[in-house]
């Protein structure tokens, strides 16, 4: 009998996505789906889709889903989890959604210690709306609303969400990962696994920030986008675990090689 060595995760729908070439949303979707499968929780998982490029995530996961208003996914996730604590609830949000319009919702969801998991995809730009500056846009990075590059005197410095959330006293799991090559993607999956595991065990709120690319709006070809991320984003957004529920943390490390 031939042995299946590679298959689509059951939690991932058998459809094509609308994501652009070189965008890592697809990779991150797959990692989340693999973790859901491996934990055996697909049939009691509810995802919360954001507004942004992942707005259609409900078409790509083979689980129940709710589509939230812009930035409100952590509030919607709170509502679902409070209504049915036995469900595994994850919000999937981009950086405009989570770090700008939804900053209040994510901070208070984390601070209440809601037993939900947030997958925070940070590609340093607004993708769906066409490449506007995000709170995470790098200094000097060109976007359609900062065409001479982000001016930190005018717009401030990019917000480091994981660092900020990890300052909260409430126990949680907060980590940052990246998926710009297969090696680091394995680490990202491990962070996601831990995050979902903490929820399955009813331990704490968890947030995994995953650095992502946007070749279309960065104006950089897909392969070069991976190295642009590594060169420009990784030093500022170091990968690692920022907070664990037992109060410990591991010093984040830059992943420039």
């Amino acid at each position: 009998m031939p042995e299946t060595v590679f298959a689509r995760p059951q939690a991932l729908a058998d459809v094509s996505t609308h994501y652009c070439p070189g965008c890592t949303h697809g990779v991150i979707h797959r990692l989340v789906a693999e973790v859901i499968d491996e934990l055996g929780v697909r049939e009691r998982t509810v995802g919360i889709a954001p507004v942004g490029c992942a707005v259609l995530a409900y078409n790509y996961f083979n689980t129940d889903f709710q589509e939230a208003a812009h930035g409100r996914a952590p509030a919607v996730a709170t509502g679902v989890k409070k209504a049915r604590p036995d469900l595994i609830v994850f919000a999937y949000q981009g950086d405009g959604d989570l770090a700008s319009i939804g900053m209040a919702e994510i901070v208070h969801c984390a601070n209440r210690g809601e037993k939900v998991t947030v997958v925070f995809v940070n590609n340093a730009i607004y993708g769906m709306t066409g490449g506007q500056m995000a709170p995470t846009t790098m200094p000097g990075q060109v976007a359609t609303t900062c065409q001479l590059g982000r001016d930190v005197d005018q717009s401030g410095h990019p917000i480091r969400v994981s660092e900020m959330i990890s300052t909260l006293r409430t126990p949680s799991f907060v980590a940052r990962a990246t998926v710009h090559n297969p090696l680091v993607a394995v680490h990202a999956k491990e962070m996601l696994r831990r995050a979902f595991r903490y929820q399955v065990d009813g331990t704490c709120f968890s947030l995994v920030e995953i650095l992502s690319t946007c070749p279309t709006n960065w104006g950089i070809p897909p392969v070069e986008s991976m190295s642009w991320l590594e060169k420009n984003m990784l030093p500022y957004y170091p990968v690692g675990i920022f907070k664990t529920p037992d109060g410990g943390s591991r010093e984040p490390r830059p992943m420039t090689e």
Binding site: F65, Q66, A68, R72, G79, V80, E105
Partner: protein, 362 residues
């Protein structure tokens, strides 16, 4: 159950619990803080959950999540807070989720004041959020009616899969009156199980998706028409009002809702003592508005008086109902000031002696 003296806010909270409300998400704002306070104490007693959200924006989106998960859920607020809930109201309607929202209206615009007002009539009946939707608006005039309407609101929300708004004012929120909750209350609508809710796809069904995004315009048009059919059905079968003294002969028909209608009924008694008869139509549903009842009652009158705690909002629905067939007069107070029975009596007399001017422009 025996009658119990209750504050309006507490009666509203207890009514929700009696109706099976399991979750309440809210944010403090005067004059309705007693509702979340009551729910924070009461819901845990019945296995429910109370969350004080970080804002009305968050509270109303928590409502969305919990309603989508299939539980009975409520929030309450006052005018500026309801403005912040506009986003979620639209998403609830678009995603066809049931929820009960209580607005204890305060005077506006802006931060305004905390005293009673009816200045949110337009917001409630026309513009609770962006996009093409309506919600049923229930306006009690007593604490007992507030308790009854809150319970009905849960059934109506579930039946139509649409938010229902209960519109009161500071008097309804703060006043104490005897309230009775009937035992073994049956739902007022035949309700299906919530097979659409996101409860986890346990293999017995494909995934459920709660969503208001339709990128295909043909699909969205079909969705809009489906919603429109629900709003039409509400207008067809859910109109509620009470008529007072419309079987008598009268010159003046008064149209007023909520606590203002109660002031008008006192005025009618004073008028009656002076041999002047007036009738009253009190809309209980502001959407759907009782157009036919107002029109029919007005046909017996020589003129119509609208009384509101606003610069003139419900009067537009009365104008629609009458289609210029009767002169309309208007009396109001603003900013948290109340209409007195004496003012209504004086206004009716001035209409009868010709010294009151009819409204030309609402």
């Amino acid at each position: 159950m025996t009658k119990k003296l209750m504050k309006g806010s507490e009666a509203i909270g207890e009514a929700a619990v009696q109706a099976g409300c399991k979750l309440f998400f809210g944010y403090p704002i005067t004059p309705q803080n007693e509702i979340p306070e009551y729910m924070s104490m009461r819901l845990p007693q019945v296995g429910g959950t109370f969350v004080q959200a970080e804002s009305e924006v968050a509270a109303s989106n928590m409502i969305y999540g919990a309603a989508g998960a299939g539980e009975r859920v409520m929030t309450s607020s006052s005018s500026p807070g309801v403005s912040l809930m506009a986003e979620a109201m639209s998403y609830l309607a678009g995603s066809e989720l049931p929820a009960v929202v209580v607005n204890i209206v305060r005077a506006g615009p802006g931060l305004g004041g905390i005293l009673p007002s009816q200045g949110d009539y337009f917001q409630a009946t026309r513009a609770l959020g962006h996009g093409d939707f309506r919600v049923m608006v229930l306006a009690p005039w007593s604490i007992q009616e507030a308790a009854d309407l809150v319970q009905d609101a849960f059934d109506l929300a579930d039946y139509y899969r649409n938010p229902v708004l209960v519109l009161g004012d500071g008097l309804i929120g703060q006043m104490m009156e005897p309230v009775e909750f009937s035992e073994g209350r049956e739902p007022i609508k035949a309700l299906d199980t919530k097979s659409w809710a996101t409860t986890g796809c346990d293999g017995s069904r494909p995934p459920n998706v709660v969503n208001s995004l339709f990128l295909d315009p043909e699909e969205l048009e079909r969705h809009n028409l489906k919603l429109k059919a629900k709003f039409d059905a509400m207008a067809e079968v859910e109109v509620r009002y009470e008529a007072y003294d419309i079987d008598d002969d009268y010159d003046v028909l008064i149209v007023a809702y909520g606590t203002v209608a109660r002031v008008c009924s006192t005025a009618m008694e004073e008028l009656k003592e002076e041999g002047i008869s007036a009738a009253l139509i009190r809309p209980i549903t502001l959407f759907p508005f009782p157009f036919a009842a107002v029109r029919d009652a007005a046909m017996k009158a020589s003129s119509v008086l609208v009384v509101e705690l606003s610069t003139g909002q419900m009067i537009e629905d009365v104008q629609l109902a009458l289609a210029r067939s009767r002169p309309i007069h208007f009396h109001n107070r603003l900013g948290g000031m109340l209409v007195s029975p004496d003012e209504v009596v004086a206004k009716v007399k001035s209409m009868l002696d010709g010294s009151s001017e009819e409204v030309r422009h609402a």
